[in-house]
């Protein structure tokens, strides 16, 4: 690289910009209450673990983490199982009005959640899905499908047709061609869609708040939001909870950043 200083500067800025704000939360999480709102702010925490204890035991944080893992995990699995054949069909089969279907899916992705929240609530009430995990997973699947289908379609699209044609000649059905030939090749694409879906479901707040009022079922964003009592703003507990809640995702991203990028580069945005 000819521009080493520029690159180093860029790395420094990117990492600094991304991490610094969160670093302050990490520091805060190890403070005791009187330091949190100290004026001027003190940089170094006194190493108190009070907020972690409070987040974990009083607010039962792990219980929310568990709910979120269940909801986000199921959403991801179901969304992929449903999106894969749809994307394959859109990419490969001669269907009338395909452009419209893809455009329509994009439109669905554009609905403001507020527009559909009320009716979705009513459907779930009729199905008995309020205050259940599956009641939240169903709309999540629907909301993440457009993006998943979009990514997978572009991905399948890039795979060479010849492989499948060979499979067909060997007597494979369309389904067999999809599962035996295409799917293994499309692993990076599936992975990209999976992580996007997972993070969406992990982060979603609006529907979760509306559908889950039973504290036994609430997910992480709702759980953390509900740390706030009537008049007390528990910054310390929120900071500690955010640190704990972000750890699994950081580990995931760290392990899979390679997968995400391979996935996206092979499909999605090819001109």
């Amino acid at each position: 690289m000819t521009h080493r200083p520029v690159l180093l500067g860029g790395i420094f800025l990117a990492v600094l910009g991304s991490l610094c704000p969160f670093l302050w939360f990490i520091l805060t999480s190890f403070k005791s209450q009187i330091l949190v709102e100290a004026i001027p702010p003190t940089w170094w925490p006194d190493g108190s673990l009070v907020f972690y204890a409070s987040a974990l035991f009083e607010h039962r944080l792990l219980h929310y983490v568990r709910n979120s893992v269940i909801v986000a995990g199921s959403t991801t699995v179901i969304a992929l199982v449903v999106a894969t054949p749809a994307a394959y069909a859109l990419a490969r089969l001669r269907l009338p009005g395909k452009t419209w279907v893809l455009g329509g899916l994009l439109c669905v992705a554009m609905f403001p959640p507020i527009v559909i929240a009320g009716p979705v609530w009513q459907i779930l009430e009729r199905l008995g899905g309020l205050n259940t995990h599956w009641g939240l997973v169903l709309p999540y699947v629907s909301l993440t499908l457009p993006l998943a289908v979009w990514i997978l379609t572009t991905f399948f699209h890039e795979l060479p047709v010849e492989l499948e044609e060979a499979a067909r000649i060997d007597g494979c059905t369309t389904w067999q061609a999809l599962y035996k030939i295409m799917l293994p090749l499309a692993t990076p694409g599936l992975f990209t869609a999976a992580i996007l879906t997972f993070i969406y479901a992990w982060n979603e707040f609006f529907f979760a708040l509306l559908i889950l009022t039973d504290p036994e079922r609430q997910t992480l964003p709702v759980g953390i939001a509900l740390f706030q009592g009537e008049f007390i703003m528990p910054w310390g507990e929120i900071a500690a909870a955010s640190v704990i809640a972000t750890l699994p995702l950081i580990i995931l991203v760290l392990l899979f950043q390679r997968g995400i990028i391979n996935g996206l580069s092979a499909g999605a945005v090819k001109g």
């Binding site: 792990l62 890039e158 692993t187 990076p188 609430q218 997968g259 580069s265």
Partner: protein
């Protein structure tokens, strides 16, 4: 060409490097699950929701057990609530209470609760209701009239303001859980140092604050004269009601049919807030404050005067939280020269859902929670001001909250916000109006008030046809 290229870009990573993250991921996921499940069992806090009810030594119930679902918020003193409910379940073994937790901002809580009620949700029996919602809930027939349960004799034992906040068109819909009223906290050490007695008018407050600020400039440059709640949210309406009301102004005309924001008293009060409070004593930072931020300024020792609800007393005197323990006192809010001190009425009522299957049992619970002993419990444990009159002479309550003795007149005269089924709409118009004139110093207060008047009148006119 393109197809070929794509194929090669997929083929480049070796199979191993492509699959190893998956394996690692599965491993981590398995680990995570293990930790989570193991933890849930260890703590034993019923992650599945039934352990708690099933394990307790349950006396043989006379009738089949009924579970009441109660919509509530996360309390600041969760243990006080847990204890109260445990005691109730001991006394009434055939009733179980299951709480559904909604966010505590009054506005977000309202949004969630009304969403359920609008859909005639029968899955919950009772709820906490802010005093400003009675008219709305009654007019929509969401809340059950409590006339048959809540006898007039019993009602007389409560503070009249709390009872009338539960009434709409001669029926009662809410039983008061507590009372809230705005009050003036102040630094008694600073006032004593400068030889001031607590201010009785707003101008006096401004003068005292200025004198103290000038005197303390060297010792504490951060000191502000006043700390209140001026963010664009429901609390802004309360704070402004206290200024406008103490200048003989009001938001609506006496018959409640017209908006009254352009009355000269009202305009002058708003102008005072803009010029004296925001720009001089409180600094524009107050435009970002809800209760917690404004209290933080005060308990860090950086405000002379502080407007807040009764709960702040406990925190201001808690050494874990406050740097001014023992230096705080509280009094009625000031007034303008010609006006009367006005405290915004707040507080929460218990209501029964019109769609409940168990209204009788729900009332048993409400009766318990509003009983003298439970009101005392919450006053002592959580600094919540009781809604029952007799408790203001109770030695235990007064021992924990000595300030109540002098504040009873505040509660008795607390001023309600407009009582109309359209309150949420009226409140949004008021919030916009006040926030605009305070945040944009160049705006013409009268013009903004006229605009707000017009909007409010338009909605009130719709109601007249009802």
């Amino acid at each position: 060409m393109k197809g070929l290229h794509a194929a090669s870009s997929i083929a480049t990573p070796s199979p191993l490097s492509r699959y190893s993250p998956w394996a690692a991921g599965l491993f981590i996921a398995a680990l995570l699950f293990n930790v989570l499940f193991a933890h849930g069992q260890e703590v034993g806090t019923a992650p599945f929701g039934f352990a708690q009810g099933g394990l307790g030594p349950s006396p043989i119930p006379v009738s089949p057990r009924i579970t009441l679902h109660s919509v509530t918020w996360k309390a600041d003193h969760p243990r006080a609530w847990d204890e109260a409910i445990q005691r109730f379940e001991q006394i009434h073994p055939h009733i179980r209470i299951k709480r559904e937790i909604a966010p505590h901002s009054s506005t977000a809580y309202h949004a969630l609760l009304t969403q359920k009620l609008r859909n005639r949700d029968a899955s919950f029996d009772l709820f906490l209701m802010d005093v400003i919602w009675t008219a709305e809930f009654a007019a929509a027939e969401w809340a059950l009239p409590l006339d048959d349960y809540f006898s007039p004799n019993e009602r007389e034992k409560f503070l009249p303001a709390t009872i009338s906040s539960g009434m709409y068109r001669r029926h009662i819909y809410g039983a008061p859980s507590r009372i809230d009223g705005g009050m003036l906290y102040y630094r008694k050490d600073l006032l004593e140092k400068y030889g001031f007695s607590p201010p009785s008018t707003w101008h006096e407050l401004a003068r005292q604050a200025q004198a103290i600020l000038e005197g303390e400039r060297t010792t504490n440059p951060l000191l502000r004269g006043y700390s209140g709640q001026f963010k664009q949210y429901e609390g802004l309406v309360c704070d402004m009601l206290e200024f406008v009301g103490s200048h003989n102004g009001s938001f609506l005309t006496d018959d409640g049919r017209h908006s009254n924001l352009t009355a000269p008293e009202s305009l002058q009060a708003v102008q005072f807030v803009r010029e004296q409070i925001i720009q001089r004593l409180a600094t524009p930072a107050a435009l970002t404050y809800q209760e917690p931020e404004s209290l933080a300024v005060f308990v860090q020792g950086n405000a002379v005067f502080h407007r807040n609800w009764p709960y702040a007393w406990g925190l201001a005197n808690d050494p874990e939280y406050s740097k001014i323990v023992g230096k705080v006192d509280v009094t009625t809010l000031p007034r303008f020269a010609q006006g009367r001190s006005t405290s915004a009425l707040g507080g929460w009522l218990y209501g029964i859902s019109a769609y409940s299957q168990h209204p009788d049992e729900a009332w048993v619970f409400i009766e318990f929670m509003t009983s003298p002993e439970m009101q005392k419990h919450f006053a002592v444990r959580a600094s919540l001001a009781p809604s029952r009159l007799a408790l203001y002479a109770d030695p235990e309550v007064l021992h924990a909250n000595p300030q109540y003795k002098d504040l009873l007149p505040v509660f008795q005269a607390a001023r309600p916000r407009p009582r109309t089924p359209l309150y949420p709409i009226v409140s949004h118009i008021l919030q916009r109006y006040f926030s605009r004139v305070l945040a944009f110093p160049g705006t013409d207060i009268k013009e903004e008030a006229q605009e707000a008047d017009l909007k409010i009148n338009r909605f009130l006119a719709l109601l007249r046809d009802l």
